[in-house]
Symmetry: D2
Subunit: 389 residues, 4 copies
């Protein structure tokens, strides 16, 4: 049976693609060796720097985000290199698995999936690495599985405090364009991004923002690489072209997305996400439910993961919401499977869409027979009704 | 500044056009004399009958709804003919103005814009018309300016009770596909419809469903007519073609719309609209505001018009909602200008979109400084959370 | 079975709608009472004047071209008025039928469908109308059924020579935006236009450009009118709005079309059409076939109608071309049914599309067993290969 | 200045994307973990097998074709492995460079870029490899830089004749869906494909079809791999899902493309490409120009590369065609830069588009002052006009 109206896709990515972007992509493909393509190429290659807040070249891959993780590793590291990773959740764990498969030696600082990186612990571990065996520190900025955001400046400060020379690699796949991020200012060496979250595009593009230090490291790194190799990508990127066929129609969309982000204003976008996240947390507390993230300073502005009351299945609840209110929520992954559901409130989103989302949650709790208090929606509404400067 | 997320277009039409329909129209235009067009023509000309619930041919005009009003009059009436019309609101008044301009003699039963047709009053007037000078009774099924729906079976019964031979012409522009309507069963002679409301299309198509009696009347009616003339339209329609160039791409969309309506089910669509209207009224009452329509049995399931508290401007309120929450509400028209605002809850719509809409209203009342009670959104939410069979 | 590649729609309208226009229309519908709509309205209402080359307001109807014919007549004439029309072909005949139905008294100067208006004959008839009983002269600028274009300045001159006060009404449905046309300079009173030819839009919009004299005539004209009435349309048009729901999404496309026409340049567009028409005629002569239009100065730059060799069916030929080469040609209408086929070479079109079209014709002649000489395609190619300006 | 009409994109890929496919992709993105996605996943994962003509699972990567080259190598080979490659042209050379970078030891059988693989030479080299040091033979089925197609059955036969156990890896990026190809029947171990040629999609998807022997090899292959690793991709593919975010909207298009290919029929598609290639060669010979490919049995049905007359620049010619006739031709790559131009006649293409293309070439030769004979277009036209079976 047809479900009327628009589906509410409230997962933490892929996010709703705006009509302007879909229509920009819905155009004939072009010759990626033509002068017209060169103009488009320069436009997106220059524009994307403003999103990462970097003055340097960014590599754009015709591949989804996982590929850009691999690119960050194979361009900077050599077989057997030690890398220090931090278990913020499922995606940090997946990145660690990838490092293992690629022949690196990841060390994983254990976490409980309820907070971001503890920069002090990270600093202690690095301090113990007197001979600098650790070649890279890998951190997920916004852990999509838990709704915890880590402070990258704190990580940088911890590394700087002891003068550790490891590279700093950061995954911003689910924060870029939603939560403030500054590649250059924060001294990140490789930032990994993807298209299908804050950039409001379908999946299929991913990114590496790269520091001078990372480029230097690439000169001696010996992990085999070809598709992901920065050398030709950055070289041909200077003229707006790509060394192999790019994902042309997604690049049409990227150009439009960058324009749209500047029309709204990056700082404005971040404030909007902060405000929607706060409204969501007020709703969750209003219902008497528990937010997975236990450190307020780590609350994610892109998504909120919520713990189900003991004895209730998060997946069963999500099914009720999907079937009866045509809204998709994110599921709990791995360690928290069926224990949490995740509410995406990122990308092309506004107050009324959020209120529809939270209403679907409150009605879903009622219909699914989950113990809750009424009033979460009202709490969010009261907050959002307050004037915004 | 770009406004993020989807705009909430909560006017009583044009309504949100679903992506499936937009995409169906986003196709190359074709030769309207080709066999392929003939297939499309037959598909929509046959399919549209199921929406009007008629076994007879329906005329499809490449024109917006006002044109189909004119078609209904010029095909059935002659200069100087008396027509009885009923002042349910702004659109009934406009139809009357059109009748005047076309050289008819409309008589207007006065109304207070707060209820639908009083069939008893109508019956009395017809009973007084002993010599049957009145050639047609014109009624607006769902008065878009007031949110009052009239009972067409009651009108028919009043006419039948005294055996008055006038034609019954009904405007369903804002009810067709949203509120139950039965052209044949209810004995309507001409039903006027448009594309941009319950049919979920952009404006640009309009319709006449036509009884055998209306067709007979057309044989002797002498108002000049050419573009609107049923004769050639119905004749060529039998083979799937049109006497002049049809609005081809809108017909692509119409074919898709009819399919979508049957996928959901017409009866299911009507129940959905009823339920959303009831939720909306509960919210309005929850805020302590007054619904314009005073007869519960006349409540419209397509829209709700709300009176502003004395001393407050509805238009100022609408501007706050538009600017601060990116939602468009319908304005008060003519007699009720600036006194009411109208909430459209028709077309391609669902529970969460309605909750977003009502939330925008409650937040707008707060921001605009309009006196209201909190709790309207909660009241609607409580109602919608109840299980639907 | 699916036919690969793009269909060649080589009828004289509807024409190929460019992707930019289709995508502009493939957007959410908006409130036609909103400030944003007002901006769009002003943009198209101002822009369309540049296409008609008029300084005055143009009425835009949410209806196809036939409606704008009716608008031209009912706004300026009264029942029983004499109008002088000229039989250039099928569409002139249809316009005459419409005049008859509307209660006018058309007089039809007979033609042989092989040339445009003979201004001298027209002048003679007007000269004989000493008491100025003729209230309007109606001429089709580009007769779509025959491929003959009439000189409007010659018609105007003939009227001026004898000082006849009749209004001059001109149909430019298949010439506007393809063949030079100047509403003000040529002293036309009402120009009728449509969206689906040179404007590159789907059908569903039509136009009246209106002189001051026509507006004066409207004040006393008594044909009943409502939907087509200029009064409210022009009044509300001053602010960018429409008196009833406009065909919103087609207006999105119109705004884009006007921009695109100015990007190419109107004079450039006319030269392009002239050049393609000449290439087509060279091909037709190369095949040894006869062009329907017998006056070289009346050759249409929008389409070419071709006579089939005696004993051969034009419709059978068209079917071969359709089935075997996926190209649609225009059929012969009424008097020339099955005797001619028509080649549309107007709208969004270029040299290579024309060469594809002409190749399809030459291959179709071969496959259909029609007697012809080879070399038509080569003749066109040789012409197009010559340097332009 | 705007160029009117449709651009002719006559490069050997990316090819023209049909409207049906663009519109299928122009839809909201979905949750790639939802049941609805699982259905789509199964549909494309099953459907793509019919295109490769394999009964086994095909890996679909959210990456462009170069990535699938890498996937074929890293899943089956180990550092230092010898691979035998054949210099058919530029793309074979690029694949060899990739093998080098990944730490393999490619041996390159030299070629003159004017023919496909000489299976006898390949067989001789393999016969000399008594101890089976060569682990894989890598061949480009259709060399996009030269327009030469190699016989894969001949390669297979040469390997079988001496019982050499090397894997057979074949690149079909520019042949799949255009030229007959049979992964299972021809005993290929890994077939590499891409989306932007015969599949009629934009770039962004690529494929590995995989034999049981290749899967076995993967168990012991030790090149590091993660993103490209078949294991999880094939495992999750069994249920219609992907191990990481797939390029969702491109998959919408892939589903549509596979349907469209079966609607036309694969064998019919191959015949169409053969016929268009033959027509193109007749035109080239008609102009007195030389086809790069010197072996008629190696002529490609997807593209034709043409040698410029001595002393004339192919790039200057291409610029004339681009600027004056709005058609993009493929450039000569590396060894044949500026010496050849390439005509793509693959993908969503038909007779009239080809005639437009060839007309643009003949007119371009004239305008560019390249020595040529008239009559190429006529020769192609005469051929295409002949009845097809």
């Amino acid at each position: 049976m047809r479900k009327p109206g628009r589906h509410f896709l409230q997962i933490p990515g892929p996010t709703n693609v705006p009509d302007r972007i879909l229509r920009a992509m819905d155009m004939p493909t072009m010759n990626h060796r033509s002068p017209a393509f060169g103009e488009l190429g320069l436009r997106v290659l220059t524009g994307i720097r403003t999103i990462f807040k970097t003055e340097r070249a960014v590599a754009i891959y015709p591949a989804s985000g996982t590929g850009a993780w691999e690119a960050a590793l194979v361009n900077t590291l050599s077989p057997g290199d030690k890398v220090l990773m931090y278990e913020t959740g499922h995606f940090a764990s997946l990145w660690r698995s990838m490092a293992l498969r690629l022949g690196l030696e990841p060390e994983f600082i254990a976490g409980d999936w309820r907070r971001g990186v503890d920069a002090a612990r990270l600093g202690e571990r690095l301090a113990a690495d007197k001979d600098h065996a650790i070649k890279a520190v890998c951190v997920v900025h916004n852990e999509t599985s838990t709704g915890c955001t880590s402070s990258i400046p704190a990580v940088r400060a911890a590394m700087d405090a002891i003068g550790h020379p490891a590279l700093l690699l950061v995954d911003t796949i689910s924060s870029l364009g939603s939560i403030d991020y500054r590649h250059d200012e924060w001294g990140v060496d490789v930032t990994v991004g993807g298209s299908q979250k804050g950039l409001m595009l379908p999946p299929g593009l991913s990114f590496n923002a790269i520091s001078a230090k990372a480029l230097d490291a690439a000169k001696t790194a010996t992990l085999p690489r070809a598709f992901w190799d920065w050398t030709e990508i950055l070289a041909s990127g200077e003229t707006g072209y790509f060394p192999y066929t790019p994902a042309i129609n997604l690049l049409y969309g990227l150009a439009e997305a960058i324009d749209m982000m500047h029309e709204e204003g990056l700082e404005q976008i971040f404030l909007r996400h902060d405000r929607h996240a706060e409204a969501t947390r007020r709703a969750v507390r209003g219902w008497g439910l528990e937010i997975l993230c236990q450190e307020p300073e780590h609350y994610s502005s892109a998504l909120t993961a919520v713990l189900m009351p003991e004895g209730h299945s998060a997946d069963a609840f999500r099914r009720v919401v999907e079937e009866q209110f045509d809204m998709t929520l994110g599921n709990g992954l791995s360690k928290v499977a069926d224990r949490v559901f995740r509410i995406g409130h990122l990308g092309d989103f506004n107050d009324l869409m959020l209120m529809g989302t939270l209403s679907g949650l409150e009605m879903g709790l009622e219909r699914a027979g989950v113990p809750y208090r009424k009033g979460g929606v009202q709490a969010a509404l009261d907050y959002l009704a307050e004037p915004v400067n």
